[in-house]
Symmetry: C2
Subunit: 216 residues, 2 copies
């Protein structure tokens, strides 16, 4: 059965999924890359080839084991407008996402926005579709496109929170990074009692992060 | 050298140190006992004798190892008014704290309140002193009373946060419990970048909680 998954979603110790001051130069605002250094050290990331890592091959421990799950069995991604581009990307008809011509999704990818535009077919199997839809409606569309495979909810924090609040997430993997951002967008707001719907596990990594999994 | 410590301070996954609706019947509000079940299962807690545990002897793993540190080398405690009693205890001249005649502090214990009253000498070495003072002033007074031993900052979340913000805490042990309270008083607000002053460790326990230590 097709499940709805959140994989490797990083938050700060004080619960922020992104910082303040998002821009084309700072996709995570004042958080910078600090939320994702744990992932950039993994073999999974090095093999993505997003950045030239030279000879380093990356870690193969717990962080990598979780990071590798990103691609397993996923047939479509849904993301919020804030993940697709910096504030105001809707006014730039040439904006094609942060990821270059071969984005790391390799599936139909649905971008939730109140200002849809025609689909963008990229290299490597990623096609961006733009939808003005509720979480439940978007999930129906994505499930059709995924042809029985799982749906990844890719973020940002507002989008993940909305899918959680609507009861639409079957498996949630959050990575808590031991920094205090102080400001930004919180993941957990308004989700009192969420843990009662899931089996929750926590496991800390030698890298300093703690992996939290919610499974139902 | 006398250090300032926070031990076994429980917070929810969404960062609340206490819930909403605090009262004489609900010291932690809607959080109930859920924040402290990890500690109540330990040998440390069973030996305190606060509640009759029958024959159960309690766990002796990681949760107990941390819980036992509560008493080591501490010569005085400082707590906020909100820890000493329910809202409005200042209007009840007979209020003597939550803990009965033999409170589990066994040292001079300084209660921060804008309405000080005369000291209360209890059994077992605990004397409550009532201070209208800033964190730094209270620490000076407590340090004198502790005669070279450490000072414990006992909570609640507002008091711990104020001592952290003032740079007065040398060692912080926070226990993150995998529940979402949704509302209450947050520990981490306004502490952006706090981790830069400390060495931070995280370790998860089989009980489900994650122990976070900040040491400088």
């Amino acid at each position: 059965m097709s499940r709805t998954l959140v994989h490797s979603f990083s938050i700060s110790l004080d619960g922020f999924g992104t910082g303040e001051g998002l821009s084309a130069d700072a996709p995570f605002g004042h958080a910078g890359h600090r939320m994702h250094t744990w992932m950039m050290a993994t073999r999974f990331w090095h093999q993505l080839g997003v950045v030239d890592m030279g000879d380093a091959s990356g870690s193969e421990g717990i962080d990598n084991a979780f990071a590798e799950r990103h691609e397993h069995g996923v047939g479509a991604e849904i993301m919020g407008a804030g993940k697709f581009g910096p504030p105001g990307w809707q006014d730039d008809p040439d904006w094609r996402g942060w990821w270059g011509e071969n984005p790391p999704f390799h599936t139909p990818t649905f971008v939730l926005t109140h200002r849809p535009r025609p689909p963008l077919e990229m290299e490597g199997g990623t096609t961006f579709h733009f939808l003005d839809a509720s979480p439940a409606e978007a999930l129906d569309v994505a499930r059709e496109a995924a042809a029985g495979r799982d749906i990844r909810i890719g973020g940002g924090p507002t989008t993940v929170r909305e899918f959680l609040a609507a009861g639409l997430v079957d498996h949630l993997h959050v990575v808590q990074v031991p920094i205090l951002l102080g400001r930004g967008v919180r993941l957990w707001d308004g989700l009192e009692g969420l843990e009662q719907q899931y089996t929750v596990e926590a496991v800390s990594s030698p890298s300093g992060v703690t992996h939290l999994t919610f499974t139902r």
